[in-house]
Symmetry: C3
Subunit: 419 residues, 3 copies
């Protein structure tokens, strides 16, 4: 519905029609909601209570008539289409573990979380953690954000339609903050954010200007990786990067922007390497039976039972101390480092990101040393043949060495033994 349409509606519809029998009662019951609707673009356009909430007051009272995205989509088709195709369109799914297990889901949805033809998750937010929460934590902790798929009101508010709300970075802050992805905080104290504070968005670009250019509801515009930081295949990567550079060129030389984003790419891959090193330390300890406690001695993972889980399905409860350090490294410090780099925030990139990553690696190595000594080990040199074969096998299974390397190294070990 455009401005002309609203004006037309204002002229044609007599004011008396706006009076809705709902209003009389709700001016007493929830006066704030009524005032907000009256000040909104919906009121003069004669989009009233019933238009969105329906006629069944009993159902409404039971909380079963929430206004889902499909209701808004009746009028706001393009916005809904863009929204659905973007990362925001997969919001709710990501709070539900594998959607295959849920009733009434389209199998086609698999591609949101999995690379074509693979069961490995591409996104760390396809969330086994949700399955371990109380329903109240799910409601107030997880789904307050992971309902964005299906609730336009989570950004737009419920009874207002004032675009100022969704044009302010604060609207993004509600979810894009905190230890796991503090995009709001890092933008706010970046050069862009500080200029924005003083000079407004024309000088200091905000979330919307770069990530929803031209008012698009496709929040994935110009993003080169999955939410879990897995870089897209080359063609898509390149196409998205060009989109972003074109936005930067509004103010910056293209070559400068390319250099800066390439440096952020390098920071991302260097940081992921530190995380991979930590994962390998823990995997080896697991293969040697040295974790305290081992997965078989703890409550089962809701999807993977007694496997060691270090990927996107990893839990932060009922694990060992060294895994918990890894969780912090991977989920908090990694995100701060590389998202800080893409958002031009030096304190996040370095102190809150890189320094934390490296200090957590120090802690993980130290805890590994303690666990090895506890298990009677004094380092790689003194391992038994069986232990060394186990470690080698693990490296092969995790793809760190090829089939050929595995075969050769194994043969070499056995040869030494029989010498």
């Amino acid at each position: 519905m455009n401005v002309a349409g609203i004006l037309l509606a204002l002229l044609l519809v007599p004011a008396v029609l706006f009076a809705d029998e709902c209003i009389d009662c709700h001016q007493q019951e929830t006066p704030g909601a009524v005032i907000q609707w009256q000040q909104s673009g919906h009121a003069p356009a004669n989009v009233g209570c019933r238009s969105c909430h329906g006629d069944d007051h009993e159902k409404i009272l039971q909380g079963n008539a929430r206004v889902v995205a499909a209701v808004c989509a009746r009028c706001h088709r393009q916005a809904f289409a863009e929204h659905s195709a973007s990362k925001h369109g997969m919001g709710l799914h990501t709070g539900w573990g594998c959607t295959r297990n849920l009733p009434g889901r389209d199998q086609h949805e698999c591609r949101f979380c999995h690379e074509e033809g693979s069961t490995l998750p591409v996104s760390a937010v396809m969330c086994a953690r949700f399955l371990r929460q109380s329903s109240e934590m799910g409601q107030l902790g997880c789904n307050r954000c992971h309902m964005v798929e299906n609730a336009c009101g989570s950004c737009h508010g419920n009874h207002l339609t004032d675009l100022d709300i969704v044009r302010d970075p604060a609207v993004c802050a509600k979810c894009h903050m905190g230890p796991d992805h503090p995009q709001w905080e890092m933008w706010q104290t970046s050069q862009h954010g500080t200029l924005n504070r003083v000079q407004g968005r024309s000088i200091g670009p905000d979330c919307q200007l770069c990530h929803m250019p031209g008012g698009s509801h496709n929040v994935s515009h110009g993003i080169t990786a999955t939410p879990a930081g897995q870089v897209y295949p080359e063609e898509r990567y390149k196409a998205e990067r060009v989109k972003m550079i074109n936005l930067c060129r509004e103010c910056h030389a293209g070559s400068f922007a390319e250099e800066e984003l390439a440096a952020a790419d390098a920071v991302r891959s260097q940081s992921k390497q530190l995380v991979a090193e930590a994962a390998e330390i823990i995997s080896e300890l697991h293969d040697l039976g040295l974790l305290d406690p081992m997965p078989q001695d703890r409550p089962a993972h809701p999807l993977r039972r007694h496997e060691l889980v270090l990927d996107g399905q990893m839990l932060y409860e009922d694990i060992s101390h060294i895994e918990r350090l890894f969780f912090t490294m991977k989920k908090f410090a990694l995100a701060k480092t590389y998202k800080g780099a893409y958002h031009q925030n030096p304190a996040y990139t370095h102190w809150l990101g890189n320094a934390e990553l490296k200090m957590l690696l120090v802690d993980i190595r130290s805890e590994a040393s303690r666990l090895r000594e506890r298990g009677g080990e004094r380092g790689a040199d003194e391992r038994t043949l069986e232990e060394r074969l186990t470690v080698l096998q693990g490296k092969f299974r995790r793809g760190l060495i090829s089939q050929q390397e595995y075969t050769e190294l194994k043969a070499e070990m056995l040869r030494k033994l029989t010498r």
Copy 2:
């Protein structure tokens, strides 16, 4: 004093009377303070320097004529009464350990910190920590906030009376922030806070709107628990909840508000359960003599000497590593989880709260495992009879089992032995 009173004062009192002999000198000495007073409502009302600071310049110079709440109360009676009856009225006490030990205190004050007829503190901020601080840390760290009881200026500022200052949530931020109770931060990035930023308080409610409705100085309005999270007895709990729901109903359906706050109640009690589990682990280690160091081997607690202290009087210094983990869990992560839930902030409720709680429990269990092994123990199964009796006795002492259960379980243990 109301607006009409101020206007009357303006008309009747000749301007020349405002000139105070203090002013001539202080326009040189502290010009900012003079200008602030001149712009305040006190100036036209002829409330001058002497009215609040008194006549004794020597005393003022020695810093002994600070303007305490009783001075303001001479005119602002209702505000002072509301303030004194609310949690802000016990601000200073909470920084002083048991007020019984202080000169000139009313014994009736006990009920601020203790349940009737019990010596157990109901509030975690009755603070043994204060007793271990240097006087400078007490001054700049503790009492900058815990003087609110006696210093109206801590919210209102000292020479201004502009109500805009105390109507801005920033005025609350000064104390209600940081790791122990980040109410300001969690509000700021909640739906309420982000709407407030764009649309003002009529759409996005702020601290004052919910906690000081109608300009009341009773900041405890609608709160259902002590500052330490101890839920009030049922009658008071229900009465306070109704007050809060009535505020929510300005915009929200009452049933929705009730559901949301009930979910937050559940998050509070679930989170406290995790903390209780950690406390039990540490208490058992203590009873078995396995803490490193044990309380008897460290500097004495200022109130409880060589007891293990895990309640509101707990210190964060001269304790063992596992107790320090518990302190962080209880004082920081617990508060973030449930206060985040009541303030509708998903990142605090889940990532900064619940996830931290559960990860700290992982760390505590792991450290307990290390301490048990260090003490020669390999788990509950291999404990000696003496150790098992000690553990059982502790559970009874801490109220986890009844007298009857204790007697029966003890008898059962001894029976097995003599079989």
Copy 3:
């Protein structure tokens, strides 16, 4: 260039001259940059693209014509002189390790980092960490801030000259935030910051008002210690303190300001004492060969090789767990405590500062206990003579005991042995 000069330039230079051949193309290439320049004071003063960027477009394209401070200094002489003499003037150096190793540096620069006649660094930000970073982390993490020496644009922005930008505390936030020196955060939630939010800078002073009084570019005005917290010699200390008190006296009684800052001095020295205690624990463990791993078993420090490094050159990678705890204590918690005290922020001074310092000391003592047991030690009483001599020698080397005390204590030990 003053306002009169700008106005003169406006009158004399025909508008047509403003049109620059760069502009035609850059209105397409980087329209935002052109608009910003057009709105700046430089445009009417006929300071065009070439004036700052030069004529060599090839060089510009290669990124070799960045506008360094010397370019701005051609017109803005006084600002540049003040800037160069202040701590901001040593910004870049601090990211480069010892400047002696860099080509084309004036040996006189040594005094920025070293006390006259000493090789000990006076500043913790003379940074060996930089030497261990990837060039991309150096670019996005370190030098985004540590280029302030040479890039006026890091505060002023690049194409605007609007003074509102540099008069907003947000401009300082970009660098003065985060775990190592959160001056922005602590100011923002102090009494000063919260008053500033509501009443502006005349009532609530901001960064610039206290640290750049009268628009001076000398950001070191009134500061009594090096960036690493080393207090200046008495004369300089006193002179700087007087400067700061004079600013406070704008609103506060001088005696009040003196007391407050003296209390902050005490908090600084008490907090440094806690850090010193931790350093001594780690140094002893090192001397006894008990760190895990020992410096000789890890990658070499870029400047100090296999020494134990706990001073300003300390790394946060490839160290032991106990050193990493110390790094956090010294670099994060110490700074929050005392900078929090000087900025009147109780939550930083106490909870984020003092409490963290003391809890990290708990962790360090606990880890020390574990390392001693791991090394076969059970406390100071059971040490061999050789171990006790090593510890004594270390204390002497670190200046904790005098030559005479060392000689006497050593003689006493040997005497006991031969008895």
